[in-house]
Amino acid sequence: MAAITKDQVKHVANLARLAITEEEAEHYTEKLASIIEFAEQLNEVDTSGVAPTTHPVPLVNVLRKDEPAKGLDRDLMLKNVPEHEDGMVKVPSILG
């Protein structure tokens, strides 16, 4: 069985909010399958009893004083927003 099917690729693309054409679905199925097959060599490694690493240098409970500080200026924050109105970010209607 292939490491990943075309239907799975379409499903994953949808989850990642990527629109892909039929042709692209084939391209990514082939590309992803070769990478996933390569990654499957990890199954050769016995990892029973091995704890997963989430971070290379472990840190726990990084705390700081809860002091209010000035945030960024709103007009400045809107500088890169493609569309805005009255100081708010504008999007198309979300209710059908």
Binding site: V9, A16, S34, I35, L42, V50, H55, V81
Partner: protein, 489 residues
């Protein structure tokens, strides 16, 4: 010719004796860029007006208030945000993005009196090993313009090698500073994870990314790392630990130091030229009094597949922010919100970035999480343990930086697994979070090779000490590529 065949120390002496001014040095950077960047194509954006104004200011700083990097020009990788200077991550997604604040590392460059002359090219969102994944341009290797500069910090390495600027910042997630430094014959350091703040570094894989310096010499590299390091309240993964004056570690003395040569780094998949250059390097280190022995890092082979699952998983989450709403590219003619997301992301991201987002989404998705993501995290522990074990006996571990010298432009871009394999010797270091440097150690058909020196967590000082001793005993770093200064672009 370029003034930037001089080290920072020499340039500082020229400034001190008033043979050149800060303004003249800045002008020299833009002159040189104008002459050679049409061929090298390292720069994406130039900061000429602001840089010249800043140079005029810095010319007035009294001599006793000048640090080792005062008034010197620097280039910054385009995934490090710079206030008022376009930052694109070499992606269509961020075309025209005008940051409203400085990354902490960029601010520290300013504080050290460095002058940011421009932003340098990279693989889109730092995903790639040749800088060919840039949406904007393909950077060339200054040693041979038909070859890649490496990646993802290809612009950073090429700009230094071509003498356009003496220093740049890069970022390294799986080798993206060290591999291009090796391909371009310059010095590149990936510091310990947590040494340099990641605030304002556009995130690729947050548990792996680090910013670091690319320079002509080891000493310059040490100066620059001291300048950008330190705890930052805006990055809670940056370590609250003293920052040494790394340059003071460069004693030249490595007598009695215990060096492990990683046997897996001279094995399968590593080219003969790289192997031989490292064997020669071992003789040099031994002649300086170091004790070199073979050490095994048995899980090396599994680092590459684990890395691609982990880094892509983190990327799929980090890059979810690019949705066309708050910044960056927004697709036109979208009927509803869902369509804005999909059209924007499909048009804004390139092929490799989409591949990694989908790979990561897959590895994290229900039903596959344990088999791929969690498995890779466990293998990461074993790779990290390899280094922990080696460092019980050895002060540093060495090997080649990459299996071969640079390859030709266009040669590997359609073959992801071959492209990924260039990073087999650099990726384990990121998984473990330890520091490592690449220094020039030879040539293969006129193209540079790099020696990688890996140290314990937060022991960049010993890494620099070994790198410096090796550099001073060899003359690879003294060679510069011959680049014809073409007509003004």
């Amino acid at each position: 010719m370029t003034l930037f065949n001089h080290s920072a120390k020499e340039l500082q002496q020229l400034l001190h004796s008033k043979e050149v001014s800060v303004s003249e040095l800045t002008d020299e950077a833009f002159r040189r860029i104008g002459k050679v960047d049409g061929d090298v194509k390292a720069f994406l954006a130039l900061n000429e007006e602001q840089a010249k104004a800043r140079a005029a200011e810095l010319d007035n700083t009294p001599a006793d208030q000048r640090g080792p990097l005062h008034g010197l020009p620097v280039g910054v990788k385009d995934n490090i945000v710079t206030e008022g200077l376009e930052t694109t991550c070499a992606s269509r997604m961020l075309g025209g993005f005008d940051p409203i604040y400085h990354a902490t590392a960029a601010k520290k460059l300013d504080d050290a009196g460095l002058i940011t002359v421009g932003k340098v090219n990279m693989d889109e969102f730092a995903m790639g090993g040749s800088t060919e994944n840039s949406y904007y341009k393909k950077t060339a290797n200054p040693w041979n313009l038909d070859y890649v500069p490496g990646g993802s910090s290809g612009g950073s390495a090429a700009a230094v090698a071509a003498g356009e600027v003496p220093f740049t910042l890069g970022s390294d997630t799986g080798g993206s500073i060290r591999q291009p430094a090796a391909y371009c014959g310059v010095v590149g350091m990936k510091p310990t994870y947590g040494r340099v703040s990641r605030y304002g570094l556009v995130a690729f894989a947050s548990s792996l990314d680090q910013i670091g310096p690319i320079t002509r010499t080891v000493e310059d590299n040490a100066f620059l790392l001291s300048a950008i390091s330190g705890h930052d309240p805006y990055d809670s993964t940056s370590f609250d630990i003293d920052v040494p004056d790394f340059a003071s570690a460069l004693t030249g003395d490595i007598k009695g130091l215990k060096i492990g040569i990683a046997s897996e780094y001279l094995g399968e998949g590593v080219g003969e030229a790289s192997r031989n250059a490292v064997k020669d390097a071992i003789k040099v280190l031994e002649s300086l009094g170091a004790e070199v022995e073979e050490v095994s890092l048995p899980y090396t082979k599994y680092a590459l597949p684990a890395y691609y699952l982990l880094s892509s998983s983190e990327a799929s989450s980090n890059l979810a922010r690019f949705d066309g709403i708050r910044y960056g590219y927004r697709a036109e003619d979208a009927a509803n919100l869902e369509e804005i997301y999909k059209k924007t992301r499909s048009e804004g991201f390139g092929d490799e970035v989409k591949t990694r987002i989908m790979l990561g989404t897959f590895a994290l998705s229900s039903g596959f999480y344990d088999a791929y993501y969690k498995k890779a995290q466990k293998v990461r522990t074993l790779v990290r343990d390899d280094f922990t074990n080696a460092f019980e006996k050895y002060d540093v571990v060495i090997g080649p930086t990459s299996p071969t010298a640079a390859f030709k432009l266009g040669e590997q871009i359609d073959d992801p697994l071959t492209m990924y394999a260039n990073d087999i010797l650099t990726i384990p270091v990121n998984l473990a979070g330890v520091p490592a440097i690449s220094v020039p150690c030879g040539f293969d058909n006129g193209l540079p090779l790099g020696l990688q020196i890996i140290g314990r967590h937060f022991d960049e000082s010993t890494v620099y000490r070994v790198a410096h001793a090796f550099e001073q005993a060899t003359d690879f770093h003294k060679r510069m590529p011959e680049i014809r200064e073409g007509l003004e672009q």
